[in-house]
Amino acid sequence: MGNTTSPEIIRQYRKIEKGEFFVVGVDTAAGGIDSCVAQFMSKTNTDIPLVYCEQITATEMTPKIKSMLEKIHDMTGVRPCVAFERNNGGVFEMERLGRLNRDDKFFLYEMFNYGNKDSSQDETYKIGWETNSATRPKMLSDLKEAIDHQLIKIYDRPTIEELFSFVVVQMKTRWKATADVGKHDDLVMALAITYQLFITQEPLGDISISDLPEENYFDNKGFY
C-alpha cells in the first residue's frame, strides 16, 4: 500500500452533497507498520467519496475522525454513523469518541448481539464493530457479494489494489480469506465494516420531544 505513509492522509473523489447520509467504518491499528483506515461511504449515493489512511495508533486517530465527522455533518446536514473496530483498543476509542461528541453531530454504531435467541432477555448491544471468528466470515462474504455484483462504487485505487491482493489461502482444515503475503488488509477490513453499517443503518433525524418515548418524560402526575 504505497501511499499509507504519504502526507496526504485523506483522499476525496467527489464533492460532498447536502442531504447525504454517511456511514464510516474504521479499522484501528496497533501501531508500527499498520495503518488506521476509515472509509466514508455515502448511503445516499452508494459510493465511497472519502478515504482516510494514516500510520498512527487508534488513540491518535480519534480526534481526527471526530473533526472529519463534524465537518461532514456541517456539509450534509445529516449526522453520519461511525463504527470503530473494537480490537486494538478501538472499543475505548469509541467510548472516547462518544464523550467528545458534545455537539451531537454524529452517532455511534451499536452492534447487535448476534445469536441471542432468549426472548426473555433484553436485547444487548455493544458500540463499535467486533471482528471475531463468527463475524469475520459474515462481513467478508457480505462485502464479496457487493463487490462481485458491483453494488457499490469504489473510486480509490489503493483500496482496489488491496482487494486484488486479498486472497484465499488454504489452512489446515479450511480456507481463509486474508491479505496476500507482505500486503495489508486495512482498507479492505475498513470497507467490510463500512458495508455492514451500510446495510443496517438509517439516518437519524433531529431529535424532538415527540420522538422520545412518552414514559421517559411523563409520569402519572404529568410532565416532570
Binding site: N3, I10, Q12, F164, S165, V167, D180
Partner: protein, 657 residues
Amino acid sequence: MIKPGYKKFIEDYFDITNKKNELVPFKLNDIQDRFITHDADDHRNVILKARQQGFSSLILAMFTVDFLLKDFSHSVIVADTRENAEGLLERVKLYIESYEAKKKFKINLKYNTRNELYNGDTRSKYTVGTAQNVQFGRSKTITNLHFCVGENTKIISTNGITRKIKDINIGDEVISESGKKTIVTNKWDTGKKQIKRIRLWLSNETIDVSPDHKIRVASVGYNNKLSDPIWKRAKDLTANDFVMWAYPKTGAYVKHLVVKNQFSAVHLANKKEYKKKIDNLSSSGLVLKTDYKLGYFIGYYLAEGNITKNLNRVSFACHKDEIFYKIFDDLFPISPTVEIRSGKSGTRKVITYNSREMAVFVDQLVGRVENKHIPDKFLYEYPKEFLQGMYDAWKDGDGSKFDYKSIGKQKLISITTVKESIARQMRQVYCLLNHKVLALDFKENRSRYGKKTQDVFILREHGSSEKKKNGAKSYSGMKYRYLTTRKMTPKNGCLFVQVKSIDDVKKQQTYEIEVADKSHAFLTVCGVVSNSEAAFFPDMSKLLSSALQAVTEDGMAIIETTANGYNFFRDFWIDCKEGKSNFKPVFYGASQFYSEDFLAAKKMELKREYQQEYPENWMEAFLASGDTYFKKEALEVYLTNAIDPIKTFKYGQYNFA
C-alpha cells in the same frame, strides 16, 4: 517513444530463431512493436510482463544496434544466472552474424568471449554477467543497461548426503525435486544473513535458511488431504505446512550381476548346476539375478558383514541364535563355515564364506569396513525386489524392537547404524518401496552401559504393516506427520513431512548453489528447498542504484521482470507507478499476446501459479499465495473506473468541497 530507426534497423538486418529453431528475419511482434513505437520511454523503463513475450530479444537487439553504430557505447546485460547471461550474449552474436551476412562485411570484433564483445570500429563494448560477477563501479560508464530477472530461481542449502553447503563443490551430485540426480553447476557466497532454523517431524535434524528462501510445501485440506505443492518463503512457514520430501524412483534396469573370476582363486562359476540356474547367460564369472535373495545378502552384509583386508573371505558376525543367513544360503555354490565364538563382547555366531571372488565382488559393490555404502545406482537402477531384500536384511541385522516408554507400552522397530550414508540411503529405499517416510534421528555423544559410543543414526519404523510383521505397534501420533497430495502416487510421487518448529537464530554465513535440474530445487535433510530471486540478487536496491549511477543520462536502462510474489520489484514498481522514480512502468497482460486457447491450457497446467506467470494486470503478477477472494472480473471493472482524487488533504485541512 524510442527512435524509429531502431525498429527499421532491427527488421532490416537482424535474424532470430523461432520456436521451431529456424532462423527467420526479426519481425517485431505486436507487443514489441507497441513497446518500441508507443509505450517506451527514451531512457528509463521497467517492464512487468507475462512469460516469453519477446522483450529480451527486442532489448538485446536495440543494444546491439548501439553496439554496431554508436561510438564508445557500453551495453550491459545482467541476468540471474551465468547460463542465462551467456545465452543472451549468444543471441547478440546471432544478430551480429546476420548483420554481417546481409551487409556482406565483417565486424571488427576485438574480444569475442562468453561474457564480452568489443567492436574495434566503434570502440563499443557489450558485456553480460550475473548480479554477482558484474562489478558496477562509479568509474565505469554504461550507455545501456538491461536487468533481466525472475526467469529462473536458484537452489540453496545442503544436500541429501549432508555435506554442509560450504563444503559442496561444483560437480557434486544432489537430489532434485523430482527425485532425480542432478549436479551442482555454480556456487557463491552471499554474505551473512539472519537465519530461520527449520525442523520437521520424523527427524531431530534442522536446516538453516535465510527468511526469503523458498521451500516446497503443501497444506492440509479436507479429509487430511494435501493441497497442490506451492513455494513458500521460510519466513511465512507455519507448523501447519508440510514440506516436500523427494526420493528416487528406480528404473529397474540392472537385472543381473556377475561375480567375476579372479586370478588364482577358486572359481564360483565352475560348478555346472550354477551355470544352468540363470537364464542361459554365460559370462566369465557367476551370474546372479538382482532379486530378493541377492538383495538380502547385500543388506545383511551391510548390517553384520566383514571382509578381510586381503579380500580372501566374507564373514558375518551375529547373535548366536540368528539364522538369517539361511535365506541366501543357496545363492552361492559354496557353503559357509559356521562357528560360535566367545569373547569379551559375549558369544557370537560367525558365518564365513572362504571365497576371494565373493569378497572382491562385495567389496567392489558396497565397500568394506569404513567404506561400506549403498551406491546411488541401487536406488535408480536396481529392481524393487532387490531393494526390498536389502532393506529387510539390514533391518534384521541391525534392527531391534524398542519399548517407547514415553508413549506408553507401544513398540517400534529401531535400526541403529554409525554409517550416515547407509542410514540416509535406507531411508530413501524405504520411501521408494512403501511411499512412507521413516523417522531418522541423529544421536551425538551417545553412551551405552556407561561408555561413550560413536555418534549414531537411528531409523524408526512405525505403522500397521510393521505391526503385523514384527509385533511392533504403530504410534498413532505419527500417522499424520507425513502425507501425500491427492494427485501424487507412489509412481510419480513425493511425500510431505509436517513442520515441527521454526526458530530465529543468529546471523550466519550463507551460500547459494545452482543445480542443473530444471526444477531448480533439491533435497536437504529437511525437505525440498529453493531460493528466491530476491535472495539471489543479494541487495537488489543497492545493486540497482549503484548500476544506475554508471548509466549515462542519455543512455537507456531497462528492467524486465516476470513478478513472483512480494519482493523488491513490487516496491520498486509501485514507486514507479506513483511517480517516485524516473522509470516508466510498462505492463502487458497475457491476453494481449497469447491466444485464449493457449492461456486456457496454461491455466490447467499451472493452476494457482497461473496468475503469477500469465497475469492480466500488475496486481495479479505480484500475488504470492492464492486466488483473489473477490471476483476478478468485477475488480477489473473497478480498476478501470478508478479515478484520481479531486483533492488530497493533510491533517487539519478539511475543506471538503
